[in-house]
């Protein structure tokens, strides 16, 4: 079957105004759609990356997050002897006890107060999180009121930048370093000496213990031992899973909101494409009759108009996708609804999202173009030729 590629293409390029309006509509929808997917992807990545495959975290049973969790020193001492924990080259078990407290700080952008997680850590905390890296300044010295700030906390909150001072726990804390953890959620936190922070907050208990396992498959044994130990009352999770669970509400919210917005917008774009294509068919009735008289089949005519609609949606899709890809450079911060801590993350594009966006555009093109194309194919030749 011959295809009228050139005819379809030239109809778009010649009728620039109508084509570009429709293209713009599709581009807008694809932009929104892509942005939502990128946002959700960015959030997922941030939280899933917060945690290593072979790390496990222990919190008090039924506390869900570290913030509500309490682990007594006596419990911590029992946990630290578990045989699944990896021993480092110095013969030290790779386990750290941490506390996590939310403090309230004003944002740089609008001075509104929001929750910032402050984590009390030990030197071992850094070792078991391989992506941790100081990018400016230095580590805090033990026994001092010094803290280091994650890059996102530093840029989002007043007083958290390099060299600045932030007040909480009835003390002033000096920011002596800025750290990165490969884009993960830790970058929205402040990290200080666990002993100093426990002291400042008057909190003699830990929030959690995090440990590196000898190997990832030791997890089930560790979980069984600790959760069944009558002296403990704890829950053991893989670190990755723990952080993923922590963001499930926020991710779900973004996805649902995004899908609803995309659907509403896409209905608009489909109707727009349909109107354009119906108008195209009506304006070109005699052309259609002529093509048929020359010997082109109904199917060829159908495909010519469908091709035109697909061309339009493909161009719109590419424009929307390319525009959305610039969102990579924008950082968003939102309250994580599961922990109420402020969480910063970026729009993140992936090949999968790009493909989804283009498919989405093409689907709009097919839906918008199909009925008009069918109409064009159904004309009787003699009636089409008589149309004026």
């Amino acid at each position: 079957m011959p295809l009228l590629w050139n005819y379809s293409y030239k109809n778009i390029s010649t009728r620039k105004l109508t084509s570009s309006l429709t293209i713009f509509g599709i581009a807008l929808v694809v932009f929104v759609f892509t942005a939502v997917l990128m946002l959700s992807n960015g959030l997922n990545q941030t939280l899933v990356d917060t945690g290593a495959e072979d790390n496990a975290i222990v919190i008090r049973r039924a506390s869900q997050t570290e913030i509500q969790s309490i682990i007594y020193r006596s419990m911590a001492n029992i946990i630290k002897t578990d045989p699944a924990i990896k021993i480092d080259s110095n013969g030290t078990p790779m386990v750290t006890n941490e506390i996590l407290v939310l403090i309230n700080l004003p944002k740089r952008s609008n001075s509104k107060f929001s929750n910032v997680p402050v984590r009390g850590v030990t030197p071992m905390s850094l070792e078991i999180r391989p992506q941790f890296k100081i990018i400016k300044g230095r580590m805090w010295r033990p026994g001092t009121s010094e803290v280091i700030a994650g890059v996102k906390a530093a840029s989002t909150f007043k007083g958290c930048g390099m060299g600045e001072t932030v007040h909480f726990g009835m003390r002033d804390w000096k920011i002596v370093g800025i750290f990165e953890t490969g884009g993960s959620g830790f970058e929205s936190e402040l990290w200080g000496d666990v002993d100093q922070l426990m002291d400042a907050f008057g909190r003699p208990v830990f929030s959690s213990l995090t440990m590196k396992l000898k190997s990832s498959n030791q997890f089930d044994g560790l979980k069984a031992r600790l959760e069944n130990d009558p002296r403990l009352n704890v829950e053991v999770k893989r670190e990755k899973e723990y952080y993923r669970d922590q963001s499930s509400s926020t991710t779900l919210f973004i996805n649902i909101l995004g899908i609803i917005i995309s659907i509403i917008f896409s209905l608009g774009a489909i109707v727009g494409a349909m109107i354009t294509m119906y108008a195209a068919v009506a304006n070109r009735t005699v052309e259609i009759g002529t093509l048929r008289a020359l010997g082109f089949s109904r199917t060829t005519v159908l495909f010519a108009f469908l091709t035109e609609s697909l061309f339009i949606s493909l161009i719109g899709g590419l424009i929307g996708l390319i525009t959305a890809s610039f969102l990579r450079f924008i950082e968003v911060s939102t309250t994580n609804w599961d922990t109420f801590a402020e969480l910063a993350f970026s729009f993140r594009l992936s090949p999968r999202i790009a493909v989804q966006a283009i498919i989405f555009a093409l689907v709009m093109g097919i839906i918008g173009g199909f009925l008009p194309a069918v109409r064009a194919a159904r004309f009787r030749i003699i009636n089409a030729l008589r149309a004026k």
């Binding site: 011959p2 009228l4 050139n6 005819y7 030239k10 109809n11 390029s13 010649t14 009728r15 005699v286 052309e287 009759g289 002529t290 093509l291 048929r292 008289a293 020359l294 010997g295 082109f296 089949s297 109904r298 030749i381 003699i382 030729l385």
Partner: protein, 225 residues
């Protein structure tokens, strides 16, 4: 005398509009020999276009038979008819019916997309057709950059590019000034004389009809000499 090329036998044609039958052609019998140039004249609404459409296979008679070059075309399926048209008929319309977004070359190339020709062969055929109508220098021009007479010449090139035996022209000069009309009529005469095309031309214009060998008249759906 050459062979009968187009044969209409006892044609009756009516249209239906809201369960009301509108008769258009009555008892048409017509034989046209190969290489003939026939002009069909008659007032508006007398059924000239309808008759042409029956011969072209884009409409079917209510009764009677249409035989072109030995083929009973009223019995063919829609797709078979479309293929048959693309190989046997060249169509020329009053308002040229060129695709406005395509240039002269691309318009003439259209019917060749229905053949197995490759790009190079298509180019050769298009160039030949355009040179016959004297528009070799206008290949890249779009319809809106051409005069009415030039547009009709492009349309004629499109009609002959597949080298069909039968050319059907529906008031080909109806929209043209006197000089263009003469050009178009000379061209049709040449296609008939030099290239031996059988031509059936509908026209209002007695001057145009003079170029034909035979003139037949349609009035209220009936055919007269």
């Amino acid at each position: 005398m050459s062979e009968v090329f187009v044969q209409l036998q006892s044609i009756y044609k009516s249209y239906w509009r809201d369960s009301l039958e509108i008769p258009v052609l009555y008892n048409i019998n017509l034989n046209i020999a190969e290489g003939e140039f026939l002009a069909l004249m008659g007032p508006s609404g007398s059924g000239k276009t309808t008759l042409l459409n029956l011969i072209a296979g884009i409409d079917k008679p209510s009764q009677g038979e249409v035989i072109v070059n030995g083929q009973h075309i009223d019995g063919l399926s829609e797709n078979a008819l479309a293929r048959w048209r693309s190989q046997n008929i060249g169509f020329i319309f009053q308002f040229y019916n060129l695709m406005p977004v395509l240039n002269a070359f691309e318009n003439v190339e259209l019917p060749l997309l229905l053949t197995k020709m490759n790009k190079k062969e298509r180019r050769q055929h298009v160039e030949t057709a355009l040179s016959i109508v004297g528009l070799s220098d206008r290949m890249k021009h779009y319809p809106n950059q051409l005069s009415g007479g030039q547009e009709q010449r492009v349309a004629i090139a499109r009609a002959i590019v597949t080298d069909p035996n039968l050319i059907l022209a529906d008031e080909p000069t109806g929209d043209l000034d006197k000089q263009s009309e003469e050009e178009i009529m000379n061209l049709l005469s040449r296609l008939n004389g030099e290239f031996n095309k059988t031509i059936i031309m509908v026209t209002h214009d007695p001057r145009a009809a003079e170029k034909a060998h035979i003139i037949r008249h349609l009035d209220k759906g009936e055919l007269y000499d």
